[in-house]
Amino acid sequence: MIEIADVGKRFVLHNQGGAILDVMHAACLNVRAGECVALVGASGAGKSTLMRMIWGNYRCDQGSIRVAGVELCGAQARDVLALRRSRLGYVSQFLRVIPRVPALNVVAEPLVVQGVDEDHARAQAAALLTRLNIPQRLWALSPTTFSGGEQQRVNIARGFIHPWPVMLLDEPTASLDAVNRAVVLDLIREAKTHGAAILGIFHDAAARDAVCDREVDMAQFTPAAAGAA
Amino acid sequence: MSAYNFAYLDEATKRMLRRAILKAVAIPGYQVPFSSREMPMPYGWGTGGVQVTAACLVPEDTLKVIDQGADDTTNAVSIRKFFERVADVAVTGQTAEASIIQTRHRIPETPLTEGQILVFQVPIPEPLRFLEPRETETRVMHALEDYGLMQVRLYEDIARHGEIARAYAYPVRVEGRYIMDPSPIPKFDNPKLDNSHALQLFGAGREGRIYALPPYTRVESLDFEDYPFTATKAAGQACALCGSTSSYLDEVITDDAGGRMFVCSDTDYCASRVAAQSQEDAA
């Protein structure tokens, strides 16, 4: 479902004397349906960069990234948007929402966008929030006022409300207590059972071992130190 | 008399006016600009109507002039005398006898007939003026039939007063096309504009505009489906002189003690009914 071939990435910093940062070289990787793959490597190895290139908020300059059959290198904005609407899900580390919107609506939104009846979508959102132990009294409040762990769980609920065929997880268990961590791992296992292809970053080694089928070390795609200068 | 051309205006000016009138007749409800002349009376006293009348008059005409329905008020008397002097035409007070009737603020009660011309004096010809101050923009609005704003004004009336509060100069749509200001006639007279047998001409001297309703033109008063137009007048009153309950009435204060009476605004109509009644009484 995710096919990455020969992908490279460089940043050109025009406002810092045109400095060029080569961060990735000839990255290759495949994730099949029902499989969970972990990206590993030291900080700065390009894990998040690759995730963002797959999500599409980082541009892909070299090589090929195919997600659910869609080529992302040079893709039109509307093709990427269509992909995100129903086939590609992303649990990021940070929640980005309009300040006033209630948590329940934030979680339900991905379904509503796809045309699911709003009441039905909210019912599903309520079920997920319950499962993730967000007290009902918080559902009508904006998550901007929540603690870090609560925000993270809202983010996870939003990410798992739709059975995306392809999912990207960026530190899904960070800042969670043991109980909620177990719930998230269950959610990941269920997604795999449904046939989702999952690519994730897990600093939590135990969590990684629990759900991931294999690991890909990003260090192998880091350009040689001499070449980067 | 030899000091003046017939009907005061020179022939070139009359030709200019007649061209404007013909164009106005050809495009019912459309305001045709014309080059308004100085007349020997102030603006606001009917200079537009006088110029249109002057352009229409021929020596065989019989002229009637009314002001608020009356033949004997200052404005009516002076305009009638003016044309007696500069055109030497016959004058009359009787609606049925007249071939041209110049009017301010009324349409006679006696139905008009084919061949008659009714000339209105118009102070402000643009029905959209108080909604949109820019002439350039009102012209475009007319051209594009962009008339939502006019309806908004009626909406506001109902929202605020429970009904369309406009009692005079009530806007009309001509042949389903142009929105037109019928001059400050009471809305009671609006139905008489529709499908009239007579030619109706409107002259605005200060603003230099002529517009027209040819005979048998469809004229609809603007309204809402659930708030239809009604031609109202003083309710439940009869004329104190002729007893008419169907004509438009003026309220006249008779003393300082609050005494008042309602009488027909159309003096010719009222007088002819009084005369007919005294004949019946005599018989």
């Binding site: 940043f11 050109v12 910093l13 025009h14 406002n15 963002r52 599409g56 908020n57 980082y58 541009r59 904005a77 509307r78 990427v80 948007l81 980005r96 309009i98 300040p99 006033r100 919107v101 509503v112 966008v113 | 475009v140 051209a143 594009l144 039939e145 962009d146 008339y147 939502g148 704003l149 309806q151 908004v152 909406y155 506001e156 109902i158 929202a159 605020r160 309204d223 809402f224 489906e225 659930d226 708030y227």
Partner: protein, 256 residues
């Protein structure tokens, strides 16, 4: 699928000064596009050219009309363009005073477009106006109040109701949240997002507020000195800007 709006080589000069130059893009149904850039970058000029308020020197603006498909709005008769402007298009001004009739009641403001396209039933017009006031979260008991008695945020929501009552397919917005308090902005953004999604609207939003476009816009166009310097997915342009100016713009935003 037919694009809703297709712009080709649009240019507008003010004398020798370039307003906007050679702008081309395609907007698809349901898409929200943001246009950002500093003051004088040509974004408002572009918006006004698209909406027919300004006549460009060159280019075409093709709109997917209901009856005849894609047509160049610049080649249309003024009457057709105005008809579009009060049916299929909407224009939300930065200053509500420019988009509202301040002497007309809230209900009259919302009803005007309905009446302009032929509505003649007072009761229906009023109930539609009531419905829309409710949708933009204005107390329906204030239907007969004039907008000058409203707060800035309410005026802006009234302007939106007035524009959307005829069910337009394309909304042009010029700094819709400018001049509003931050707390009021959030409410307006949420409202606009909900309306855009529920009604399947397409929109072109001009703003200098990057946070606004991140929340509202699917796509982003960055303008500088009348030219489009970069365009693409909103989060791609903001997170991985390619052009020097966009990089400067993004890095200049204060973090809260």
């Amino acid at each position: 699928m037919t694009p809703l709006l297709q712009v080709e080589g649009l240019s507008k000069h003010y004398g020798n000064f370039l307003g906007c130059g050679d702008v081309s893009f395609t907007l698809w149904p349901g898409e929200v596009m943001g246009i950002v850039g500093e003051s004088g970058s040509g974004k408002s000029t572009l918006l006004n050219c698209l909406a027919g308020h300004l006549t460009p020197d060159a280019g075409r603006v093709l709109f997917d009309t209901r009856e005849q498909g894609l047509r160049d709005t610049l080649a249309m008769a003024e009457s057709e363009r105005r008809w579009l402007a009060r049916t299929d298009w909407a224009f939300v001004h930065q200053n509500p005073r420019d988009g509202l009739r301040m002497n007309v009641s809230a209900g009259g403001n919302v009803g005007e477009r309905l009446m302009a396209v032929g509505a003649r039933h007072y009761g229906n017009i009023r109930s539609q106006a009531t419905d829309w006031l409710d949708r933009v979260e204005i107390d329906t008991g204030r239907i007969d109040d004039r907008p000058r008695a409203f707060s800035g945020g309410m005026q802006q929501r009234l302007q939106i109701a007035r524009n959307l009552v005829t069910g337009p397919r394309l909304v042009f917005m010029d700094e819709p949240t400018g001049g509003l308090d931050v707390s009021v902005q959030a409410r307006l953004l949420d409202l606009m997002r909900g309306l855009v999604r529920r009604l399947g609207l397409s929109a072109v939003i001009v703003t200098h507020d990057l946070a606004v476009v991140r929340l509202l816009a699917d796509r982003l166009m960055v303008m500088k000195d009348g030219r489009v310097v970069e365009d693409g997915l909103t989060d791609q342009v903001l997170d991985d800007p390619q052009h020097a100016y966009t990089q400067l713009l993004v890095s200049s935003v204060l973090q809260v």
